[in-house]
């Protein structure tokens, strides 16, 4: 009888131990945000080792089952997958849960290029990746406002929603040269870049020629692009004279909007002007233009 009682008590003790171990169920936090801390529920009774493995943190501590397990904010700064484990004896129970990024704190804003000609279709690109305070990419959709403004002209605005943590746009450069303020913002967080818009290639490049003491003096009209922006000083303009004696070229830089040069004297021939791939007018020297 005594043996039977001992056996029965042993079986009951084992069943209790098994049920206690199995009862160590973990309850994950709902809607957890990075850097906010949270509570994990742990049912059962007795001591167990608790582990929490997140994207940037690892927690290991002894816990008393049946009491909530508090996780400090500094242990929850990484957004992503968290694995919580309770381990006792040879039994382990685990649960996986997700921690979302916090609110937008800063933006990675890539604006290209830093300098381009005016009136270039889709010439400017802007890419935005939003991050929270702990450098977690914010994957949930966020509204991004792109704004491109030059001088007093009304800005060009485009509003997009991030997808997979990115929003991007392409915009035309404006018709007016000058520094463009290119801004991306999410709520009250914004980043600004400056895109220098410069005059495009010359348009209607024209010159006139007159005899000088040394030869032939050539001078252009004011050099403008097709949207009437002055082509920047320093841009090279090439004057070429072709005659029976041969061909001679002179490179001149635009200075205060004009380019001028002196060609060697000739009786008759042709004079041309060009800047980059743009050809200007041609003068027939010796017989008038």
């Amino acid at each position: 009888m005594k043996k039977l009682t001992i056996a029965a008590l042993t079986v009951i003790a084992c069943l209790f131990a098994v049920s206690a171990a199995r009862a160590a169920e973990l309850t994950p936090p709902q809607g957890a945000r990075a850097g906010a801390g949270f509570i994990i529920g742990a049912s059962g009774s007795g001591q167990a080792t608790f582990y929490l493995i997140g994207p940037t943190s690892v927690v290991k501590r002894q816990v008393r089952l049946g009491r909530p397990i508090a996780i400090a904010p500094q242990e929850t700064q990484g957004a992503g997958r968290y694995l919580a484990i309770v381990h006792r004896g040879s039994e382990s129970n685990s649960v996986v849960f997700w921690v979302d990024a916090g609110k937008p704190d800063h933006i990675a804003f890539i604006a290209r290029p830093s300098r381009l000609p005016v009136a270039r279709t889709n010439g400017i690109s802007g890419v935005v990746y939003p991050f929270d305070k702990w450098h977690n990419l914010i994957v949930r959709p966020e509204q991004v406002k792109f704004q491109l403004a030059v001088g007093e002209a009304p800005p060009l605005i485009r509003t997009l929603t991030t997808s997979d943590g990115v929003a991007w746009t392409e915009m035309d450069s404006s018709r007016k040269a000058g520094p463009a303020q290119f801004t991306a913002s999410i709520g009250d967080v914004s980043e600004r870049r400056v895109v220098q818009q410069v005059a495009s290639d010359p348009c209607n490049l024209r010159m006139r020629a007159q005899r000088s003491k040394q030869g032939i003096e050539v001078v252009t009209d004011p050099i403008l692009d097709c949207t009437s922006n002055p082509v920047p000083d320093g841009t090279i303009v090439t004057f070429t004279a072709t005659s029976a004696q041969g061909r001679s070229s002179v490179d001149a830089r635009i200075k205060r909007g004009f380019a001028e040069a002196e060609l060697p004297p000739m009786q008759s021939g042709n004079i041309t002007v060009a800047s980059g791939v743009v050809m200007g007018n041609e003068i027939h020297w010796g017989g008038g233009e």
Partner: protein, 169 residues
């Protein structure tokens, strides 16, 4: 003289064999670039992304298995490297290790920035994950996990700049 030659040959053989062995350890990575927004992903760039992403995962597995953060900088940069370093340090402090048995990654290129400075991919990874406390196995699971990853070019290779697990759809 003969011994020196044999020694040199053995060293040379090891130098050839070790990189090949490491290459053989690379997890399988496939990339689908059919629906990439932004700039089209050229074939050579696709191959490079696959190669370096596979290398990054091998490095990640080694770093977390050995608690050795010194490996990370060859494949990771920026936030990704910083966060993995934090994780390795935290694991080491707690006396834990994580072992990844990598059964492959299916990448989908989401976005290639117009100026070519970043590629974003979605990764569906098939992994076996084991958590060890010292030598004691405290957790083991087979998991299909999803990641968002950003890769950026450096002077010689693509590096993972961001690697963030996201819930599955």
């Amino acid at each position: 003289m003969r011994r020196v030659r044999l020694g040199a040959a053995a060293v040379l053989a090891l130098l050839v064999v070790i990189p090949r062995a490491r290459a053989a350890d690379l997890p399988q990575v496939t990339l689908n670039a059919e629906h990439t927004a932004g700039r089209p992903l050229e074939a050579l760039t696709q191959q490079a992304v696959v190669r370096y992403y596979a290398s990054a995962w091998r490095t990640l597995a080694e770093a977390l298995n050995d608690n050795n953060a010194s490996l990370l900088s060859q494949d990771f940069a920026g936030v990704a490297e910083q966060k993995l370093r934090q994780l390795v340090a935290a694991q080491a402090r707690a006396g834990l290790r994580t072992r990844y048995v990598d059964h492959g990654h299916q990448l989908e290129a989401v976005f290639y920035s117009p100026e070519g400075s970043s590629i974003e991919v979605r990764d569906t990874a098939h992994l076996e994950i084991q958590v060890l406390d010292g030598d004691k196995l405290v957790h083991s699971e087979q998991a299909t996990l999803h990641y968002i990853s950003l890769l950026t070019p450096t002077s010689v290779r693509w590096k993972v700049r961001l690697l963030q697990a996201i819930p599955g759809e």
